[in-house]
């Protein structure tokens, strides 16, 4: 049963991301997740928004991102929608491997989707009309 939902629309400006991060953080408190899990959910939302800004909108600050948090008795679902360039399907499930001894080639970026997949219980991505929608689900343990 859907219990409560919040919708936020922001411009694709990095300065707006912490506000959404704080909002999801407070929203998760209602579901009594642990502090660490709340951080990881906030992190997933921030990573998804960063990806929208950097990749979907190529750092254009004036495009629109819609975020919806939906709370259920047993889980939280987060919808993040943009109208920019879609994510390449192969990238969605890409792993993040590196050799800690190969110092020159240590990765400095490209960790966002890996983190989201690692933290969330379910991650789906779809295109609906002109919208790309990332849907992340975290179960209450």
């Amino acid at each position: 049963m859907k219990e409560r939902s919040i919708k936020i629309i922001i411009n694709s400006d990095p300065a707006n991301v912490p506000f959404v991060g704080n909002a999801i953080n407070k929203f998760c408190l209602l579901l009594s997740f642990s502090e660490k899990v709340i951080y990881q959910i906030e992190l997933s939302v921030v990573e998804a928004l960063n990806n929208c800004i950097k990749h979907a909108y190529s750092n254009n600050l004036d495009s629109e991102i819609e975020i919806e948090f939906v709370m259920y008795s047993d889980k939280i679902k987060i919808y993040i929608s943009d109208k920019g360039k879609s994510i390449n399907k192969e990238k969605l499930k890409s792993d993040f491997n590196f050799d800690p001894d190969d110092i020159p080639n240590l990765p400095e970026r490209g960790m966002g989707l890996f983190i989201i997949n690692k933290v969330m219980d379910e991650v789906t991505y779809k295109k609906e009309d002109d919208k790309n929608i990332l849907i992340m689900t975290k179960m209450r343990s």
Partner: protein, 119 residues
């Protein structure tokens, strides 16, 4: 830009060791690039033994983590780099991305300093 430096890190010099405490509560897309440039400038100025104190940080994203990797790469073999005082949440990001295999991570600043002295 001295003002910017003062806003992002607070420096403490102990003989040949520089301790930089990150001042904001968040290290993310909004400030990671500035943070990285400032720390790399310290390194290029000859501070090759560095402890980053993360006690103020309650939110680190992959952009902030990427900045730490760049700093690690710059200091590797040339000097000493360690991280201290990360909270449980931030530590969970190091573990999640397996960056804990790279960094010297300590609970306290004292442990970080001692590790260099024992090197």
């Amino acid at each position: 830009m001295v003002v910017l430096i003062n806003k992002i890190v607070e420096e403490k010099l102990l003989k040949n060791l520089l301790i930089l405490k990150i001042l904001p509560e968040r290290l993310d897309l909004t400030n990671a690039e500035d943070f990285k440039k400032i720390v790399l400038k310290y390194i290029d100025d000859g501070n090759i033994n560095l402890v980053l104190n993360l006690s103020n940080i309650n939110f680190l994203d992959s952009t902030g983590l990427g900045a730490l990797v760049v700093i690690f790469k710059r200091l590797n073999k040339k000097g000493y780099f360690s991280i201290c005082c990360a909270n449980e949440s931030v530590t969970s990001l190091f573990n999640l991305t397996r960056m804990n295999r790279l960094f010297n991570i300590f609970f306290t600043e004292e442990e970080s300093i001692k590790a260099l002295q024992n090197k």
